[in-house]
């Protein structure tokens, strides 16, 4: 047990928590945009898997991680648009349609992997970028400022998202459409237009989240995300539909996950209990969700398709 409390291991555990939080953070920030505008996209995990395979395969073929990231963006945009078509224009039941996208992504990513790759082959990972000055701070430097660029970018999206939602006309439209689409429509706001935009943003960030996950691990396998897309949706509720809350939730999940991994590696947790330990992050997230979710009201129009009339 005492082994665990060395400085090096604590820092490494924290750093790995930050890293593990990133795919969740990206996906749940994207989902926040959709939900604030009234659209629940349950297909996040499917889009993440497709983005993960697309990113992995591109890096495998080109050797360039940035091309992999771009592939993730492209796939995300495509499936974001598809999700918007299904839920906004075709007015599908949001509790069901996203499951379809998820199952498609799960099956298709596995099929493509088996057909195009076959045996797991490692790829190159994101290069690390130490932030000059900050990375030398004792403890904190090692935890927060010795990561890859994508980690910094993901966290930079948090204040940016807050700003967009609260301080721009686009953000005001998102909030109004998620609360009272009839009122927004009566003032000439295009409800469908806003929702197409937010769902596409959500898809894009899910695609990026998937590609990031694959390139960060340097590998792809069936169901690589292990339902992280669904955790991301839960985190939006946990974070009370606010980017900062979503970030705290992602970090909590990441840290618990890193801690469990570390304890397993050090065999503090007996190997035969490790499967139970693996459930800890999910259980903690659900508990937190139950406690927090009571205090905040979800966007009133969430999951309600909008049509003008009556």
């Amino acid at each position: 047990m005492s082994d665990f409390f060395t400085e090096a291991i604590l820092i490494a555990t924290f750093a790995s928590g930050v890293r593990l939080a990133v795919p969740l953070l990206l996906a749940s920030l994207g989902e926040t945009f959709g939900q604030r505008s009234g659209v629940l996209n349950l297909g996040v995990d499917g889009i993440m898997l497709l983005g993960a395979f697309g990113g992995y395969y591109t890096v495998l073929k080109t050797g360039n991680v940035w091309y992999g990231l771009i592939a993730g963006i492209g796939i995300g945009v495509l499936f974001g648009l598809l999700s918007a078509l299904i839920s906004v224009t075709l007015l599908a039941e949001q509790g069901i349609s996203g499951i379809g996208v998820y199952l498609f992504g799960l099956g298709m990513s596995d099929l493509l992997f088996l057909k195009l790759v076959g045996t797991p082959t490692p790829i190159s990972k994101f290069p690390k970028l130490d932030i000059p000055g900050l990375s030398d701070i004792p403890w904190l430097g090692g935890m927060f400022f010795q990561h890859s660029v994508i980690v910094y970018l993901a966290f930079a999206l948090v204040p940016l998202s807050t700003f967009v939602i609260n301080r721009t006309t686009f953000g005001m439209r998102i909030r109004s459409v998620g609360e009272n689409p009839e009122a927004a429509d009566s003032l000439g706001v295009s409800v469908a237009g806003v929702r197409w935009a937010t769902v596409t943003i959500g898809g894009t960030l899910a695609g990026v989240a998937g590609a990031t996950l694959a390139i960060d691990l340097g590998i792809f396998q069936q169901n690589l995300t292990n339902a992280q897309g669904f955790i991301a949706i839960a985190l939006v509720y946990f974070g009370a539909w606010r980017p900062i809350g979503v970030m705290l939730g992602s970090l909590l999940y990441g840290f618990v996950n890193a801690l469990v991994l570390q304890l397993k590696t050090l065999e503090v947790i007996p190997p035969d209990l490790s499967n139970f330990a693996a459930m800890a992050p999910a259980i903690i997230t659900i508990l937190a969700l139950v406690i927090v979710a009571r205090r905040f009201r979800q966007p009133t129009a969430l999951t309600k398709p909008f049509t003008r009339g009556t």
């Binding site: 006309t169 005001m172 909030r175 109004s176 609360e179 009272n180 009566s186 000439g188």
Partner: protein
């Protein structure tokens, strides 16, 4: 008024599947006047206004603004033509501030960033100019109903509306707030704006309008200046026959208190106290009317008496039986009949047939069963008798209730509730949104039930209704009874003050 009208709608016809909503309707508004559009629900007022506001497209006819023919395909275009609409159900985003609600949909002077400080300044200016003071930084959910309406009007003025449509704007206001609103509206017409006022409250229509157009079943059935009109002449034009605006009420000997409420406290949906230490007695053979502005605990009070909501403190006694926090079935057994305010939400099941809805309470009664199975002959007989007695217009007993009109659903609920022999009847908003004919009938039945010795509690936001029905009027404000008055002595103004929370110095009982 020889000049060109600011609005002319010519020969407007709009068909929906199976319904002719507007049939060759002509309507015009001159600058500086209030032109009222009067008619029952379903007469085609809203359709006509939605056509004007670009929410519907007319099948035939044309719209002229200041003499020029225009095409209005969407609300955005209506707004560009300086048309503003104050919707009956406020079109506000509760979680946004006043300023954000006003700015929504408009381009910002700072490009993609919001310019709420600029907007706020202008809101304050408009407020001072027209008596519409409001805090631009307040979030809308915090506002009282009257303040929300100010925001709606400011929204339209901010968009430089010259022609304002007001869809039943007084439905949710106290008499004093109505006076204030009318002052604002008169100021708006004095500035050369044109107003279209939609209402079915006849004395308000007479107080505010210059001209009145009456619609019935999609057609214009009357066109008059206010000088030539009376409440009775307008009601007749709306219904197409002579109507009684108040039922005849014979003297009835009242009995003991059949409904007793003592120190009742009820918590509302948002966790705040909605009924606050309320005491009330309703005697056998009397109608007690509860007047008040919506949201002052009426709904919670009715739901608690009906067993749909638990009380925190206090007691409710129905015909001598303590029913406090008992399940609804025990209240029914004690002799309660309950007409809830939401006729589709709590009062009936829309997808069920007329018979099924009539049987919702007595569905397990022996008279409808034969060896444990339904006896459909007995059921049909029972329901047919009720439908005929209560004049429910329905094609068959097997018609789903949701396809009936509001008035007929309300009559059906009343038929079900009065089919037993209730000791106490709670009627919440019994005629809200029903046509005058059905309202007239429902009033008649309530008065008849009073003669049978039932204690009746009528909860209504319609002061005319409260005056017409009640033997005594109790005014509710923030969950407390401000006083009980005799309708013969009370004036609308007195009630209005009580509805705003001011206790009268002398309380008649």
């Amino acid at each position: 008024m020889a000049e060109t009208p600011m609005l002319e709608m010519r020969g407007i016809t709009k068909r929906f599947p199976g319904v002719l909503a507007n049939d060759n309707v002509d309507f015009d508004v001159f600058a500086g006047e209030v032109h009222t559009l009067l008619g029952e629900n379903g007469a085609g007022k809203s359709t006509l206004m939605k056509i004007l506001y670009g929410m519907y497209q007319a099948d035939e006819g044309e719209i002229l603004l200041n003499g020029e023919s225009v095409d209005i395909p969407s609300p955005t275009v209506a707004i560009e033509h300086n048309i503003g609409m104050i919707h009956q159900h406020f079109m506000l985003v509760d979680t946004l501030t006043v300023a954000e609600n006003v700015a929504l949909g408009l381009p910002s002077s700072r490009g993609f960033l919001t310019d709420l400080d600029v907007v706020s300044e202008h809101i304050v200016e408009l407020g001072e100019q027209y008596g519409l003071e409001i805090d631009p930084a307040a979030e809308v959910w915090q506002l009282a109903v009257g303040q929300k309406q100010r925001v709606e009007i400011i929204k339209a003025l901010y968009r430089e509306a010259r022609l304002l449509i007001l869809d039943e704007p007084t439905a949710v206001l106290t008499p004093q707030e109505v006076d204030q609103l009318f002052d604002t509206l008169r100021q708006l017409t004095a500035d050369g704006r044109g107003l279209i006022f939609i209402s079915h409250k006849l004395h308000e229509v007479l107080a505010l309008s210059n001209r009145i157009t009456v619609l019935r079943q999609g057609r214009v059935t009357g066109n008059t200046t206010t000088e030539g009109a009376t409440r009775h002449s307008l009601a007749e034009m709306m219904v197409g026959r002579e109507v009684k605006l108040a039922p005849d009420k014979p003297e009835v000997e009242t009995g003991g208190a059949a409904l007793q409420i003592r120190d009742l406290e009820v918590i509302g949906d948002r966790g705040n106290v909605m009924v606050d230490g309320l005491d009330l007695d309703v005697h056998a053979g009397e109608i007690l009317g509860i007047a008040g502005v919506s949201g002052n605990g009426q709904r919670e009070l009715a739901e608690t008496i009906g067993g749909l909501r638990q009380s925190n403190r206090g007691s409710i006694t129905i015909a001598g039986v303590d029913t406090t926090n008992k399940p609804p079935i025990e209240m029914r057994h004690a002799g309660l009949a309950y007409v809830p305010e939401g006729r589709m939400k709590n009062g009936s099941i829309g997808a069920f047939t007329v018979s099924e809805n009539l049987l919702l309470i007595d569905h397990a009664d022996d008279q409808f069963l034969s060896r444990g199975l339904y006896d459909f002959g007995a059921i049909r007989e029972h329901c047919q008798a009720l439908v005929e007695e209560f004049a429910v217009k329905t094609p068959t007993l097997e018609t789903p209730v949701k396809s009936l009109s509001g008035g007929n659903i309300q009559k059906l609920i009343l038929a079900r509730e009065l089919s037993g022999t209730p000791q106490v009847l709670i009627a919440s908003q019994p005629t809200r949104g029903v046509d005058i004919g059905a309202a007239e009938y429902i009033h008649k039945r309530l008065v008849e039930q009073r003669e049978e010795g039932t204690a009746i509690l009528v909860i209504s936001e319609d002061l005319d209704e409260v005056f017409a029905l009640s033997d005594r009027i109790a005014v509710i404000y923030e969950g407390q009874i401000m006083g009980v008055v005799d309708p013969a002595d009370a004036t609308r103004e007195q009630l209005g003050l009580m509805m705003a929370g001011i206790r009268p110095e002398s309380v008649a009982d």
